[in-house]
């Protein structure tokens, strides 16, 4: 027998369908910036970083009356949707933002893949879009001029570092590279290994470890046997804390130990204490750099102080890069003196400014021009910048 209990379900269904027809109305504003964000799902932590800095920027800009377009100030509105870390939904929402919400400009979501998907849609609609967390050049190779990115290509992480270390340690010869078998850590491990070989160094150990590896002793023993001058390990914070501890337990020593991207995050230094001292790394941005330029944050310090006052923790390069996207957008709108998508696109393409985040000038493909990225070192449980010369605030210490 079928019971009558099924009726409530039907009512809920019908009520839900009816409610869904009502559009979510939004306050009126002059400039609309659309942002598909992965607020839930695997990318949630990173997307929240984007949301946070964009809201910080929005408050500051609107408190000052908005963005000046041809002499009049226009308030700014951020229209955002959660795309649940799902690429198909990201595309769907980008289209909704452009056609239903009629946003003027877009900000890309986190990661190369989703940036590519959303960038393709924005390009079809000829809507300018700026990405803050895509460093693979393949993202930028077929978008015909509407997609821009504030991260410079990965390549800037490798060559300058090899060159710098060779200057500091002329007898540098034997290199061991251990990388996590995952998109970004894998490409950086392969990148540094290629750069080291090109510079004539002996990369005697060059392996990847599987995601979730809890014991690096086999790899580390092999590295120890080769008596390395430079050990380069990539992975996420937890991997790198583990690897550094096991290096210590097994007595693996080297004058230079580089880990990417561990030392850029404060959790790494907190987790390792004194053991973190001397470890070097690269980053797209660190608060220890001191840039000054245009935008609502005139200096690196101004951004850092405001961030810490608000969040009680340190910003990382994702925070900074994403905050830089909106600074670029504001600058371009002001220079264009118009909200016309084509004119703003042209203005973005001509950007040549310095911001709290560093210099921003887009290459022909839309990526921030390659530059020597900061090399940092943990010294006395704090972060010091070793290179490039214009932002350095300390000299390199060798370990042992």
């Amino acid at each position: 027998m079928r019971s009558n209990v099924k009726f409530p379900g039907l009512f809920i269904l019908a009520a839900g369908l009816a409610a869904g027809g009502l559009p979510v109305s939004a306050a009126k504003a002059d400039i609309k910036i659309g942002a598909p964000l992965a607020l839930t799902g695997p990318l949630a932590d990173e997307a929240k970083k984007q949301e946070l800095v964009w809201k910080m920027w929005l408050e500051k800009v609107n408190a000052a009356g908005g963005i000046s377009v041809g002499g009049t100030k226009h308030k700014v509105q951020l229209v955002q949707y959660d795309y649940q870390s799902d690429g198909q939904r990201a595309a769907q929402l980008a289209e909704k933002l452009i056609t239903d919400d009629k946003v003027d400009f877009l900000l890309a979501p986190f990661g190369s893949g989703h940036t590519k998907i959303v960038g393709t849609i924005a390009t079809r609609y000829e809507t300018p879009i700026i990405a803050c967390a895509a460093s693979s050049e393949s993202v930028f190779d077929q978008t015909s001029g509407y997609l821009f990115g504030t991260l410079s290509p990965n390549i800037g992480l490798f060559g300058p570092m090899v060159k710098y270390f060779r200057e500091k340690m002329p007898q540098l010869k034997k290199v061991a590279v251990l990388g996590r078998d995952d998109v970004f850590p894998k490409s950086t491990a392969q990148g540094i290994s290629a750069a080291a070989k090109a510079a004539g160094l002996d990369v005697y150990y060059d392996q990847l470890y599987a995601v979730g590896t809890m014991d690096h002793s086999a790899s580390l023993s092999a590295i120890k046997a080769g008596n390395p001058d430079w050990v380069y390990i990539t992975g996420y914070t937890q991997d790198l804390i583990l690897a550094r501890k096991q290096m210590n337990d097994l007595g693996v020593k080297a004058p230079i130990i580089t880990m990417l991207a561990g030392p850029a995050y404060k959790e790494y230094i907190e987790g390792l204490g004194n053991l973190a001292n001397g470890v070097t790394s690269s980053t797209w941005w660190h608060q220890a750099t001191s840039y000054s330029g245009v935008g609502v944050w005139p200096t690196t310090e101004a951004f850092y102080k405001e961030f810490v006052a608000k969040e009680k923790s340190d910003p990382d390069y994702i925070h900074a890069s994403c905050a830089a996207t909106v600074v670029v957008l504001q600058d371009a709108i002001e220079r264009a003196g118009s909200l016309d998508k084509k004119k703003v696109r042209d203005a973005i393409a001509k950007t040549d400014i310095t911001t709290f985040y560093g210099p921003i000038k887009f290459s022909a493909n839309g990526m921030n021009a390659p530059r020597d990225l900061p090399i940092i070192q943990v010294q006395d449980k704090g972060i010091k910048v070793l290179a490039p010369a214009d932002v350095k605030n300390s000299d390199m210490n060798m370990i042992k």
């Binding site: 289209e95 190369s112 998907i117 393949s138």
Partner: protein
């Protein structure tokens, strides 16, 4: 519900609704229509193995993903777009037939787990085979030229055509010896074997049919998006959603997959639009409730009883 022609008329009406969205809706609505047509094709495909034969397959995402990559790689090698979709269909069909011959020896939970394993294995192979597939960086697919309106209309048409083709195959299977044999397998596999149904062959055919259009849809989707990567192409969520849609509508029927997909996707839109934070949890609860109270899907409801209860029908004259 007595009329033999009712399912076809309803399906035709639904096709008209989807196909006319560019005339009355924004491009966002058109995109939703494309997604509905696409998922209806996937659900109709799943119905062959999951509905008719009663084998709980979770391989949909594997076939979709392999289709994405086969189509994208063919297009990158210079094969024209439509031909690349056909190549993807054939490749996926062949892979499904080979895999089916192996894993269809298992039944029930064991089969379900093996079919999930296929998704993971396919994803790992694609992401590790970096020299061919670009690994985790993904692949660019040649973009279709033309403005957003033209592109949306073309892919709406493509997805609707694929949906209609899978519906036609469903009708053919439903009326043929194959459909009868699969229903026998669903009810009692050993008994079916005894009365002369070639279980092994029928199951492999059903499994292959469940893969074919997934391959086409994957390849078309890749051309539409212009970019694919392993995590989006082999999403385990897709493997779960498609069976749920079919169960919601009514497995093993002609119209069940169509109704289930439409209902599920509209519910998803509604909950997503109104409950930003808890939409997944609410959707999950609704699915549990619907499947718990509607074990045969929406099609199994006695609409005549409901109508009578609301006074829409006077007397049960038909009830004999």
């Amino acid at each position: 519900m007595k009329s033999r022609w009712l399912p076809y008329a309803l399906f035709a009406a639904w096709v008209v609704v989807l196909a006319t969205t560019p005339l009355w809706g924004s491009n966002y609505i058109v995109r939703v229509a494309i997604m509905i047509a696409m998922f209806t094709g996937l659900t109709l495909s799943w119905n062959f193995i999951g509905g008719f034969a009663g084998y709980p397959s979770f391989s949909t995402a594997a076939f979709f993903g392999i289709g994405c990559y086969a189509g994208a790689l063919a297009q990158r090698a210079g094969v024209p777009m439509v031909l690349a979709w056909i190549v993807a269909t054939v490749v996926v069909g062949a892979i499904a037939a080979a895999l089916g011959a192996i894993i269809l020896k298992m039944r029930g939970h064991y089969f379900a787990i093996a079919s999930i394993g296929i998704v993971e294995v396919a994803r790992l192979i694609i992401s590790s085979w970096g020299s061919l597939t670009g690994g985790g960086d993904g692949l660019n697919v040649p973009l279709m030229s033309g403005g957003p309106n033209a592109v949306a209309r073309i892919f709406l048409l493509v997805m609707i055509v694929i949906m209609i083709m899978s519906f036609i195959v469903t009708v053919i299977v439903d009326r043929s010896r194959l459909g009868f044999g699969l229903r026998c397998i669903q009810q009692n596999e050993d008994a079916a074997n005894m009365v002369g149904v070639n279980n092994r062959l029928y199951k492999v055919i059903a499994y292959t049919l469940s893969a074919l259009f997934c391959g086409t849809i994957g390849a078309a989707h890749a051309s539409w998006t212009g970019y694919i990567d392993p995590s989006d192409s082999f999403s385990i969520l897709m493997s779960v959603k498609v069976p749920v849609m079919c169960l919601l509508g009514g497995p093993g029927t002609l119209l069940g997959p169509v109704i289930g997909t439409a209902a599920f996707m509209m519910l998803e839109e509604v909950f997503w639009a109104n409950f930003l934070d808890y939409n997944r949890a609410i959707l999950g609860a609704v699915i549990v409730i619907l499947i718990f109270f509607l074990p045969g899907g929406l099609l199994a409801l006695r609409y005549r009883d409901i109508a009578r209860r609301f006074g829409l029908l006077r007397e049960p004259k038909m009830a004999a």
